[in-house]
Structures are given as structure tokens and as C-alpha cells.
Amino acid sequence: MKQFFAFVKKEFFHIWRDKRTLFILMGIPITQIIIFGFALTNEVKNAKIAVLDYARDNVSQQLIQKIAANKYFQIDKSLYSYQQVEPAFKEGKIKMAIVFPQNFASDLLHGNKAQLQFITDATDPNVATTLVNYANAIVKDYQTDINKTTVYPYTIETEIRMMYNPELKGAYSFVPGVMALILMLTCAMMTSIAIVKEKEMGTMEVILVSPLKPFRVILAKAVPYMLLSMINVISILLLSVFVLDVPIRGSLLLLLSESLLFTITSLALGLLISSLTNSQQVAMLFSFLGLFLPTTVFSGYMFPIENMPIPLQIISNIVPAKWYYNIVKAIMIKGLGIASVWKETLILLAMTIVLFTVSIKKFKTRLA
């Protein structure tokens, strides 16, 4: 046991003395959360639009005012002819243009039917669709307003409730995603590099010719990174609760223990990588391509897995981050208990055991 602690202590010295790596290790989660939380939102807010009003009557003015008052839109410029529309888009500032034809009010009030054109920049299709929907809703609202007296014989009223995330905040889905990503990166990449470094520096040669058991070496390498990762989990949670207003609805203890489990899964993956590679560069590349990409692509927080072709959906099942992501979402956002996530937990547990066994079996007790 004394041997083991001496090794862990030594490992902490390595981490502590490599200030740059330590900084990256502890800085990644904070910057990621801040970047994702403030810069990379896919919510549409304050989209700049242009208005081309040929009508200039009271109806078009009222509509423009309504749109301008909305938080989703910001009227950037008024256009005077149709020819100006495309150059305005080409400038790149505006996302949508609204065109009122001549006689808009009289068409509406006397001809019973008026036309209104929305032109959007569909280079980003999601934003374009969202903007059109918002604008449509405003127009419909206005329509209901002016038709107050009319009574429709049959109406279906839809009532919408956004469960768990009524404000449709992006943070609700990316906080669990970032947690999965950070844990995967810090644990797997750092442990694999730490072990491969010993091979590269030649210290592994000396360690092998000692009574230390391989199992202990591996474990001692993993423990410091496990502790660091748990600190990362806590700092991510603190940031998301206090800075991003993402709640932890379920049990904190359950969330932390699931995170610990996932940390161990990632460590096991890191150990496996380290036993397959001999240089730090290769280990880094391996971790990046083998872990970072699948984690972002297949965990489901960036791209919905349901929309992927079946073969990719099947592949996503072997990505541990997917299961962890689902667990965190269920506990944190939906407030569910172990009863709802036991299946995912079991899958993670099984993956961990398999990975650990393989990496200990693969750990070379000799040089070649």
C-alpha cells in the first residue's frame, strides 16, 4: 500500500509541476462552459432584418412596429426598391427582409386578401426557418387582433407546453454534453499521455524492473486524474447552476456518482490507448480522433442521434459518452432517479469492466 501511495504522490508532483498542462486541465471546463454558454448559442436573438415598404399605409406601419418591438428582431435598415434587397443580403448583416407590396392595407381591408413577402438568408437553414416562424406568428397575432369581432364556427386552439426547459435554453442540453466531453478528454487523454510519457522517457524500463505490480502502476496513474476530473465536474456544475441558471433537479449525489463511474470508464479507455501506443504524439492523436470526435458526434448533444442513418445509430451505442449524456440529462434536467437510468448505468459499468480487464491484460510486463 505504501508503494501505491508513493506512486500516487509522485504522479501528483508530475501534474503539479507541469503548470501548463495543469492550467489546460483545469481551464478547459471553465472556458468550454463560458464559450458554449455565451458565444455558441443556437437560439436566435436580435436578428437584423430589412424592411421594404411599398405600401406605407397604417397596416404596414403597425405590422412593422410589432415586429420591431419583438426581441427576436431588430430592424437594421429600410429599403426603397426591390433591387436593394439582394445587395443588403450580400452585405451579410441582415438575415431576413420583409416586403410589403403597394396597396397592402386596401388589399387586406377591401380585397380581403393581402400578400406579404419574407425573404431569408438560408445559408443557415435553421436560423432561416426559425425567423420565418417567428415572423409568421407575429403576422397571425395581428390578424387575430383585427378580426376580433369575427366569430369562426369551429376553432382548434393549440396549447403548447415545453416540458423541462420552458425557455428553450440551449444550456440545458449542452451542459451535460460538455460534461461528457470534458471528462472524456481529461481522463482518457491525460492518463494515456501520462503512461506513454513513462515509456518515452525510459522510466517505465526502471519501473518494470521493480517489485511493483502492473495493476498497481495502472491504478496509481489513474487516481490523480480521477480526482482532478471530479474537481472539474464540480466546477462545471457550479458554473452551470450559478452562471447559466441550469438547475440540478435530481439528486446531486446520484449525479456525482454517475460522473465518477463515467470518469472511471474514460480512465479505462485512456489506459487501453496507452497500452497500444508508444509515443505521446500518437497517444494524443489516438485520443483525439478516437474519443473527442465520437464523443461530440455520437453523444447526441450536437446532432440528434434519431436523425442519423441506422448504421451510425448502432455505432453510437458503443460510445460511452452517449449513455452518460442521457444519464446526466435525465438526472439534472428531468429530475429523474436511479429507477429511470439503471439501464444506462449498467451499460457504462459493463463497458468499464471490459475496458479495464483488457487494458490490464494488455499492459506489457516487458518491453516488447
Binding site: K2, Q3, A6, F7, K10, F13, H14, R17, D18, M201, G202, T203, E205, V206, I207, L208, V209, S210, P211, L212, T365, R366, L367, A368
Partner: protein
């Protein structure tokens, strides 16, 4: 019982299936007695490191067997790892740990403490103790070697494997290092040491001369030199560069190579060879200030001669 027994060890490295494997060691056998300083002397690429790695259980030989302290290097590798000290050719301590931390770490993983075996490393460690707070990576070459030796000794090993411990170390530190080994020998520790420096061979109790994975001779350094068996002449003259060319192209010369300020020359007709004949030939070729001396062969001469005969085979 001998400390180390090596029987018919052969080691090959296969790089790819198409290419021929590289043979690092060819059918090597020797024995090292307890408390002996056994030198393995040979140039780079001779197979010294492979041999050390096999004996320290880090590599497995294709053929042959070996025991260290009576334990088989393949079957009982765990027991061997408990009792040997190994210092690899490349500096292999933690560069970001201090001198003291490195020593403490190695003491702990070998189930011991620095205090317990301090008397064994005192002579060596006391020289670097003033720098004990310094990071190992910041030490000079000689100090690094002293620290590495201290770490390899801290658990009082029965057999010590030192792979090129003096390569890249200055002359003074090299001398000190060998004096340390002499003292360790008195503690009853068997020492296997490899070196590319021929002059260090004479400091060993016995040496094995190794070249291209084959042992050319194993004996006491003096006996190897006595087995040289031919007259060896040290030659110098005014135009040294020309002399080498002249002698090499002379059909009477068996071998000629530079050694320090002289050329060492062996004649083909050894029985009748005399200094006068060489002098006359060189004089005839226009050289002056010719000095010729009959000298005793040293290890390097023996090595060159053995290499010559190996190549002839």
C-alpha cells in the same frame, strides 16, 4: 553457484515480415561469479543493451536460457525484479522530481527506506546530497549517473546491471564511478557493467569482448592481452598521415591502425619481424624522425586483433 548464468542466448529483432530479422545476440554463453565485476565491452550496436534487457527480464530471447541468482529470467521474472538493480543506458529517472524525491520514490517501491540502506549509497550519494532539492533534469551528466546508481542500489540488490554507466561522463567522474564500483564489490554485490570504452575493461575482474552479437573472448583483462600472441610495434614519424598509407599498402604488414599519437603495427612474418626492417622500409619511402618501439598489447589491440580474425572467418 554463479550469480549469472547465460546459456546459448540468441535474440533477433523482426522489423517486418519481408525483411530478414536483425540478429542482436548469437548463441552467447557465459557465467558470472558472485561478487565479481564483469565487463561487457564492445562498440555501439554490439548487442550489449539487448543482453542486459534479457537478463533484467525486460526482453525474452528466442533461444537459450539464463538465470540470475538461480532464478530463470523468463519463468521467475518476478523474483528477479525483487532483487536486481538496473541502470539503463539512457538516463531514466524522473526529471521533474528532485534528487531526494527520486531516491525516496525508488526506495519505497522496493519496500525499503533511504535510511535503512544509507550506508551502502553513502559514498555516492553524499556527493550529490548538497543538490538534493534540485530537479534531476537539471543535474550535470556525472551527477545524473551518481543519482541513477544510488537509485539502483537503494534496495541493496544482489546483482547490479549497469548499461553503459560512463557514456557521456567526463574523465574525472568516470574514474570516480569505477572506484565506487570497486567498493560495491566489497559489499558482495555482483556487478555486470557494459562499456564501449576499451580502457575501462582493465578495471573489471573479467571481461567479455562482444562484437556483432558474438562474444569473441571472455577472460581476465591481463590474460586477454597475453593471448595477443604477436609482437606489437608502436610507430611514429614526421609525416604521420603518409605513414599510415604507406604501411597499409606494404604487403609485409598484417594490420596497422592509429592509437593515440602512434600507429600500432603487427607484421605478417611475426617470428622474424624486427624494428630495423620497419625502420628501413619507412626510411626508404622518405620518412624521417622514425621511432619504433616494441610494446605490450592492451585491450583495444586485442579487440582489434580478434575483430580481424572474426572478419577473416
Amino acid at each position: 553457484m554463479p550469480s549469472v548464468v547465460v546459456k546459448n542466448i540468441t535474440k533477433k529483432y523482426t522489423q517486418s515480415k519481408k525483411e530478414q530479422p536483425i540478429i542482436a545476440l548469437q548463441n552467447i554463453s557465459f557465467e558470472v561469479e558472485k561478487g565479481e565485476i564483469f565487463g561487457i565491452v564492445g562498440p555501439d550496436g554490439a548487442g550489449k543493451t539487448s543482453l542486459f534487457r534479457i537478463l533484467t527480464t525486460l526482453l525474452i530471447a528466442e533461444q537459450g536460457s539464463a538465470t540470475v541468482d538461480g532464478y530463470d529470467v523468463v519463468k521467475d521474472y518476478k523474483s528477479i525484479r525483487q532483487r536486481v538493480g538496473y541502470m539503463p543506458g539512457k538516463f531514466s529517472l524522473y526529471q521533474d522530481l528532485s534528487v531526494e524525491e527520486n531516491l525516496n520514490f525508488f526506495a519505497t517501491i522496493f519496500h525499503t527506506t533511504v535510511e535503512k540502506n544509507y550506508d551502502l549509497i553513502k559514498d555516492i550519494y553524499s556527493q550529490i546530497e548538497p543538490f538534493k532539492k534540485r530537479r534531476a533534469g537539471k543535474l550535470s551528466g556525472g551527477m545524473k549517473q551518481k543519482l541513477a546508481l544510488s537509485c539502483a542500489l537503494i534496495h541493496r540488490p544482489s546483482v547490479l546491471f549497469l548499461d553503459e554507466p560512463t557514456t557521456g561522463v567526463d574523465a574525472v567522474s568516470r574514474k570516480e564511478f569505477w572506484e565506487m564500483l570497486k567498493r560495491l564489490k566489497q559489499e558482495g554485490i555482483t556487478i555486470l557493467v557494459s562499456t564501449p570504452y576499451m580502457d575501462e575493461a582493465s578495471l573489471c575482474d573479467r571481461v567479455a569482448l562482444i562484437q556483432n552479437g558474438k562474444i569473441m573472448a571472455i577472460d581476465k583483462p591481463n590474460s586477454i592481452n597475453q593471448n595477443f600472441g604477436k609482437k606489437l610495434w608502436a610507430v611514429r614519424a614526421n609525416n604521420m598521415f603518409g605513414v599510415l598509407k604507406t604501411l597499409k599498402s606494404w604487403q609485409e604488414v598484417f594490420s596497422c591502425y592509429s592509437f593515440g599519437e602512434n600507429y600500432h603495427v603487427v607484421m605478417k612474418d611475426d617470428d622474424n619481424a624486427n624494428a630495423m626492417a620497419i625502420h628501413d622500409y619507412l626510411f626508404k619511402c622518405g620518412y624521417r624522425e622514425i621511432e619504433i618501439q616494441l610494446i605490450d598489447a592492451n585491450i583495444e589491440d586485442s579487440f582489434m586483433a580478434l575483430m580481424h580474425t572474426e572478419n577473416e572467418k
